[in-house]
Amino acid sequence: MTQNLRRNLANRCNALKSTGPKSVAGKRASSQNSRKHGLNSAPDFESSSEYRALVELIAEEGFSAFVCADIASSLLNYRRVMDAYYDTYTSPEPVDEFLRDANVKASNPIFSELLSPSGSEPQDVREMAAFFASMQRQERRKGGPVSRRSADTHKLIRYQRNAIARLSSAVRQG
């Protein structure tokens, strides 16, 4: 257990020293790290075959060409949001069980052992322990898997609101 704890803490300490990716491919990959659902990017429905098929089918119901285009793009946009909603709901941020369950006080000797080769002082160990404890508090505040998926899905409310308002207004103006 202590070996595991030591290894995990060593990995986390070393990760803190990382200065990020060096290669172009690595930088390109890490530039997408903060991408969550892609709903902020402008969609291009007009060039898709689905859009053209939808416009034709909606036109048969007696809507004008402008309204047909509006309804088709609103429907596709609404589906895009609902797909992102499902994906967010089904893949919440994983619980970091090591961080959540770790005993910070018991880790102090390991911190001092890990930091000693660099000639660190007790103050450094205390700072490292405080940093670790704050990360643990953050992790615990996020709760379990159900809390996480609720919180993540909650962020998509505004996208759903906008998408359905646009769809509803497109249908009713026709």
């Binding site: 689905e50 007696g62 609404y78 709760g143 898997p145 409310i157």
Partner: protein, 212 residues
């Protein structure tokens, strides 16, 4: 395990529409079900909603399928509220026991789940009773405390349910508008036909002409 749902199986739901060549649904992404959800139940809900449409146009059918998905989301979020309470209760019990070294003990969570279901074996029941006694809590106290702890997340789930209700209102209004439009067109066609039938055959082209 009640709240450790493993996701991964994506069930595409084929929408039953009478005239598939006229349906919008093949061009829209389908609502997906979770692995433990019944496809038959989803379809039967959709069929019952579709049966209430007087004149199921392709657009109305597409909107009704979105409405059915909203109902499904409300069900999921309602279950989530209970799961949040369970999660909070399990966490409180894990912290209350003197000999627990982890923040959220899976063993306690599973024992608690079976304890509430009435399917707990002797050891599990004894475990829960022991922790409750150690922490001087009753089950209702535990539930109240858990509710207090999970209030922030329960509020979020309430917001999600409210959003689905609002979405359903929008969809319902849109469906009504399509229905009204088709009725209006039908009525105008009938009125026109009635007017035409009143005119003499030669005067069919002079419908708007004023008598001189």
């Amino acid at each position: 395990m009640l709240y450790n749902v493993h996701f991964g199986i994506y069930v595409d739901v084929a929408m039953p529409v009478e005239d598939k060549s006229k349906s919008l649904l093949p061009f829209l992404s389908s609502p997906k079900l979770l692995p433990d959800e019944s496809e038959a139940e989803f379809q039967s809900g959709l069929q019952s909603l579709l049966s209430e449409l007087d004149n199921p146009s392709p657009l109305a059918v597409a909107l009704v399928s979105q409405l059915n998905e909203c109902l499904w989301w409300i069900r999921r979020h309602t279950v989530d509220k209970e799961l949040l309470l369970h999660e909070a209760m399990a966490r409180l019990l894990s912290k209350a026991g003197n000999h627990w070294d982890t923040y959220d003990n899976h063993k306690v969570s599973e024992a608690l789940e079976r304890y509430f279901n009435g399917s707990a074996d002797k050891d599990e029941a004894a475990l829960i009773d022991e922790i409750l006694a150690e922490s001087k809590l009753t089950l209702s106290d535990l539930r109240v405390r858990a509710f207090k702890d999970a209030a922030r997340h329960i509020k979020m789930v309430d917001d999600l349910i409210h959003r689905q209700h609002q979405t359903m209102r929008h969809l319902q209004r849109s469906i009504d508008s399509i229905d009204y439009k088709s009725r209006l067109i039908k009525r105008m066609d009938l009125e026109l036909a009635a007017l035409e039938s009143k005119q003499p055959v030669k005067g069919a082209l002079t419908l708007d002409a004023k008598p001189s």
